[in-house]
Amino acid sequence: MVIKHKMIFKTEGPWSDANQLMLKLDTGSWRTERPVLDKTKCNYCGLCAIYCPPQCMKDMGDHYEANLVFCKGCGICAHECPKQAYTMKPEGEFTNEG
């Protein structure tokens, strides 16, 4: 058998670390809706970033923004936001963005 596959794990066992590609699964492809922020309601409390399961909220200085490569669209940020600043919008509305 000729192995053409380029090994992902450097080790015998499935070991990986934070610098390896293996930990960077594009979980964003699982998303059916995304959080859209109304900046006028946001008071920059940071709760969305704390609760975000894949920890993909980017700190923008006066608000947070989901990194859509990793955001699974779970909606926890919208649920936890005390100001109801997030609205979960179906991905279908963003198909033109590619």
Binding site: I3, H5, M7, I8, F9, T11, E12, G13, P14, W15, S16, D17, A18, N19, M22, L23, L25
Partner: protein, 397 residues
């Protein structure tokens, strides 16, 4: 260089297993007591209490925790040991799969006992059979001397950098666990010397406090396939490694067991019996007696159950006229016993011959000399073209 002659003591299989673990110097031990293994756990606790073993003993609330504890300790780089049986083995099944999937070199003793379903507190290999697809290396031994020797060899196998697999050493509950017989205890310095090569190999990956590293993560799609392929390949490599370690052990300690299989009077044999565990010892006596009667029979003692010793079995059985396989367990959903079923899979490579399956020795029933004698006679008749039964449950007839 040769090992010193060790001190000979008359001790039970369980105490032998505990001594075997002790001389291999495990750093973490977690055993939950279960009949017929309890004496292993008790004896190891005694060793730690009296200072003869410098190990962390974790008192767990069950076997599932025991396996998770030794798995975690192994991933942190420790040498580990655990022991169980029957219900305990199946209770740790998910953690066993983690251990092999994470390629943790755990060494575990499994004292063979019947499994849940019928509350059988009695001997049988069904527990080991029930975990055969767990990805562990599984080795079966025949007597108390082989228990200690094989446990020492198992650390060489498990922790070998090319292998990195958990190893299960099986011996018959009741028959060996409580049987006291003379055992030569290898000297500590000699065991240290035999295990020393493990120190000269590359450092296997381990969890380091503070470092963002982990094992078992992200086995999705090709990550999963790759991990499985490596695991499968390591088991394939383990076969030759078992032979090599056995030879090295034999050269050093003067005792050798044939590696994957032991062939007894097989060279000029026309027919063969395949057996494992303590029954193989009885079978040797029967082979000698039948040879005296003029039947050219030999015994293949299967030591390595997983990985399946395909090549060695083909070599040993090719061209024989008939084979009888004695199983101390049942293969649910297949007509033949588990080992017979597997032997049938290599039938094209050993040539067309009658392969007779025998189920015997379940639930502490003895696999007696007359039982094995009958097997030899029937296999001999089948070799001469007589009709035979595919499967025989000896105690049911």
């Amino acid at each position: 260089m040769k090992a010193k002659k060790g001190k000979v003591s008359v001790i039970t299989g369980n105490v032998v297993a505990a001594h075997a673990a002790r001389v291999c110097r495990p750093e973490v031990v977690a055993c939950y007591p279960i009949t017929p293994q309890s004496e292993v756990a008790e004896t190891l606790s005694g060793f730690v209490a009296d200072g003869s073993l410098d190990a962390e003993i974790v008192e767990v609330e069950g076997e599932n925790s025991a396996m998770n504890v030794v798995l975690a300790a192994s991933l942190a780089g420790a040498r580990v040991f655990t022991a169980t049986s029957s219900y305990g083995l199946v209770y740790m099944y998910d953690a066993m799969l983690q251990a092999s999937g994470y390629r943790a070199p755990v060494v575990m003793v499994n004292v063979n006992r019947e499994t849940p379903g019928i509350q059988a507190v009695s001997s049988g290999q069904q527990d080991m059979i029930s975990t055969r697809d767990s990805g562990w290396a599984q080795i079966i031994v025949e007597n108390n001397q082989e228990i200690i020797d094989q446990i020492i060899m198992s650390y060489r196998l498990a922790e070998d950098f090319d292998i990195q697999l958990p190893v299960m050493v099986n011996y018959d509950g009741y028959y060996l666990s409580y049987l006291a017989e003379a055992v030569e205890m290898p000297d500590q310095a000699d065991v240290d010397a035999f295990l020393a090569p493990l120190k000269n190999q590359p450092q296997r990956p381990r969890i380091i406090p503070g470092a963002a590293t982990g094992c078992g993560t992200h086995g999705i799609e090709m990550g999963y396939v790759e991990a499985r392929y490596k695991h499968w390949s390591a088991l394939e490599r383990a076969k030759q490694k078992v032979d090599d370690i056995d030879k090295e052990f034999g050269d050093y300690f003067g005792r050798s067991y044939g590696g994957q299989i032991e062939e007894y009077r097989m060279n000029d044999a026309d027919i063969a019996i395949v057996a494992s565990g303590s029954a193989a010892g009885t079978a040797k006596t029967v082979v000698d007696a039948k040879r005296a009667d003029g039947i050219k029979v030999g015994l293949v003692k299967q030591r390595l159950f997983r990985p399946f010793p395909e090549e060695r079995l083909i070599q040993a059985l090719k061209g024989k006229k008939a084979v009888g396989v004695i199983d101390r367990s049942v293969c649910f959903g297949w007509k033949y016993g588990p080992m017979c079923t597997e032997l049938k899979a290599i039938a094209p490579s050993i040539g067309a011959m009658p392969i007779l399956s025998y189920i015997d020795g379940l639930a502490n029933l003895d696999i007696t000399i007359p039982h094995i004698g009958r097997v030899v006679d029937e296999v001999n008749a089948a070799a001469k073209g007589k009709a035979y039964q595919d499967v025989t449950w000896i105690p049911m007839e």
